[in-house]
Symmetry: C2
Subunit: 203 residues, 2 copies
DNA sequence: TTGAATATTCAGTACCTATTGAAACTTTAG
DNA sequence: CTAAAGTTTCAATAGGTACTGAATATTCAA
């Protein structure tokens, strides 16, 4: 971690060189709260299907509400440059953080989306696409392969009937779930979206 | 895997000893369909927060709709006794498969719940308890720690205000989500439950 | 109580994912 | 163009989770 010292030496001797927008040292009380949040968010990355480091970086950007650069992230979370770089890129790919250029600055900054609803919509959309859609496709394929014209008189066999029944149950469930996701994901640009408003009113 | 042969030799010489309720060999067409389903379900275990083997065992029990014993599972999925035992127990703990005794039989059998809605309710309830509740608790704790009477005049500081704002946004989101889960989980004993019916009507 | 059938546990290992850190690459100011 | 700043890549490896299979425990019929 020589980079840190180097950078701090530089700022000490010439504070206009490589100035970070927000110095990392922060009021200890605030910092504790932020760290608690970051830790928990990291542990719970599983909910998102995201690994710990990615979750922590996101948590840091979200909770501070500031654009931070790679070095800020490295310093605050004690992770390597490579890790920070890859994870930041992955978060950008997900679309829940964004790159930010500052006029006249070389360094790139990253900031989190501020709207939680939008963030979760994005995540939901992506996971639906990656995880639910393929399963639904497989199930439909399975049902097709068990259609009577493919299996002939075996269609009456007990084992076939049971399996087809189970496939039907699963298909119904996933189709309905899919539709709901679609809605949630579709009009979710900001704030409580339609799905949620409908539910809150009705319950 | 000597166990398999031993067991099969036994059945060959004395078919009343250790009879498995359903012989594993199954019509190849049906078997292919079941295997496709099992494979995909295993790959997608992540959705559930469950590992591949557990997901595959569950898929097998679900798709066949039959009570199977540990050896059936081992043979069909080519996994070790230890693995089968641990995974079956974990699935029982989740509550999505059940142990079954057959009168006059020593061996234990396992069968999957048949109602997909009930299964997912159970899973949702468990994940909410394990994953969402602790995060919400942490967030509330963070908000408490940033209350003006704890941090005094710092409450007006820009950094504090931003962090508090972010915490509030997250809290709103998670509280609402939590309520919806609660409903889904509460009255979900069977079939399309209230939450889903409300949504389907409204959308 | 005994022993055969069955079930569970767990130390060791295989396998896989995440992380590091140094080298290679890119960009821009001068 | 060159040097300095910044970014990305990737081989090596650390670290963690899942799996095996033999040892141990449990159950039940006789």
């Amino acid at each position: 971690m020589t980079t840190v010292e180097e950078r701090e030496n530089l700022s000490a001797t010439d504070s206009t060189l490589n100035p970070r927008i927000v110095p990392l040292p922060v009021d200890p009380k605030l910092r504790k709260v932020q760290d608690d949040f970051i830790r928990k968010w990291g542990e719970m990355g599983a909910i998102w299907g995201i690994n710990r480091t990615m979750a922590e970086i996101h948590a840091l950007l979200y909770i501070t509400g500031l654009p931070l650069c790679t070095d800020d992230v490295m310093d605050r979370l004690h992770i390597s440059r490579g890790n920070a770089s890859m994870s930041l890129r992955a978060l950008c790919d997900w679309g829940i953080i964004r790159r930010m250029h500052r006029r006249g600055e070389r360094r790139e900054y990253f900031e989190s989306l501020g709207d939680v609803w939008e963030m979760f919509s994005i995540i939901a959309a992506e996971r639906k696409r990656r995880e639910m859609d393929p399963v639904l496709e497989t199930i439909k394929q399975c049902i097709r392969e068990l259609e009577p014209d493919r299996i002939g008189k075996l269609a009456e066999d007990e084992a076939f009937r049971r399996t087809r029944q189970r496939l039907d149950g699963m298909e119904e469930f996933m189709s309905v779930t899919n539709k709901i996701f679609q809605q949630f994901v579709g009009n979710a640009k900001s704030g409580l979206n339609k799905v949620v408003r409908v539910l809150l009113k009705a319950l």
